[in-house]
Symmetry: D2
Subunit: 141 residues, 4 copies
């Protein structure tokens, strides 16, 4: 499992007239946490694009439990729980202090510049193999 935490301070631009953070902004915050999560295991998403790959969002789901407010310091947790196979699913939790505000997930796959599904860049596959190295299966006695 890979897990990263980032801190987001809610900007005034991110509020709406309900007086809370607009629900659409969480997708950008998830992305900030996702970018950092990859950096933390030495994968630069910027470099991935320079190498001719994209990693678009194919699905997103979010549950809003409580609102975030202007100037709140939020903790966004991103978590890759399983070794990516064809699709990569990342889970997110957004907290203010110990209070869980929002949960969500995004699903991704690698494509090339023409939008065709492709295998991940080799250095991503190698890193994932390293991070999700399976313990050997139990041996019969």
């Amino acid at each position: 499992m890979i897990q990263t935490k980032v801190t987001i301070n809610v900007r005034y631009a991110e509020t709406d007239q309900m007086g809370v953070a607009y629900h659409g902004n969480y997708l950008a915050w998830f992305e900030v946490a996702r970018t950092r999560m990859f950096k933390d295991v030495d994968i630069s998403y910027k470099k991935i694009e320079q190498d001719g790959y994209y990693f678009p969002v194919l699905e997103v789901s979010v549950k809003y439990h409580r609102p975030a407010l202007y100037d709140d310091d939020l903790t966004v947790v991103a978590r890759l729980e399983e070794k990516p196979v064809l699709r990569t699913r990342i889970n997110y939790e957004v907290y203010r202090g110990d209070t869980l505000l929002v949960t969500g997930s995004t699903t991704h796959a690698f494509i090339d510049r023409e939008g065709r599904p492709v295998r991940p860049p080799p250095y991503v596959t190698a890193k994932m193999n390293e991070l999700f190295r399976q313990s050997p299966p139990p041996q019969p006695q």
Copy 2:
């Protein structure tokens, strides 16, 4: 069932460096279609808020099938398929011409200014009863 279509022209501000419409923007476009859907049945969301109610998004899910591009004219369909009970679920489809790009849904409930769950405003309930008037159940012979 209530159904509304709106046209959205993709703004330059809504693109990202992948050269497509940023995936987070669909939530704002869903909202444009939702606002119009309520207007089409004479419910003003603006008035709902003035009356002391909010109708926040509790859940959202989106599937991205194909990207939308700058200056595309998109059709966003919003559909209320079932009479709202405690929660209201609205479904969305985004098309470019006949091509389906994105599907999604949002779930909502009414709250008051203190954030407590409340019954819908009476005129919303009355309108929903009118729009989802059930045909009488089949009579025994």
Copy 3:
């Protein structure tokens, strides 16, 4: 002079907790009007980029006289008052009905994909010459 009007309906996503349209959104609305203004004289900004040119914003200034509100129908006027030479300046006015809310301007220049200043695409220059054809200077008697 070239002048275009577009209608913008203020989205919920575009409000902030002051209960008005967030001041940063006007830049995107100016752009919607600018894109349409060029289309109205048969210049597609989309095609300009496909041909290898960009027309970035070099300067922007905005004066906010009155706020715009959620669900307001705004008229955004874009106006090219003088034939562009090295730089192109476009002026904007945002109205709700007859009430002027905001005025602004943007300044642009053409660059190539490497970010170097370049002459405009020939079809843009030709169109500007056509649109800003000067009446002949007064003849001495």
Copy 4:
């Protein structure tokens, strides 16, 4: 003079298809720096609003010298150079390392909840008097 620096990491959501940070986002970044600048002198903009005041943007101007890119770490400097009288002008500079990318300014005034111009909250005036304490005028000999 009051001056504050904040660091902004350019989000993917903030890029556009020109491959750079969208020009409209700088207004939100200026605001992040402005919020922090006030906090640094113990003025909470959040509290100002709770006390019934707003501090809207009346004018903004921006000059874009060079583009910012995805994942860039930017330094945004906000500077209040003169003691605010009727209007408050704040200047901004955005750097990547030592390279100046953007300069700008915003002008503000205090209003009440009905949008009427008002004097600043007393604690803001007191703090400004303290920070911009004038040296005594030169004495006649």
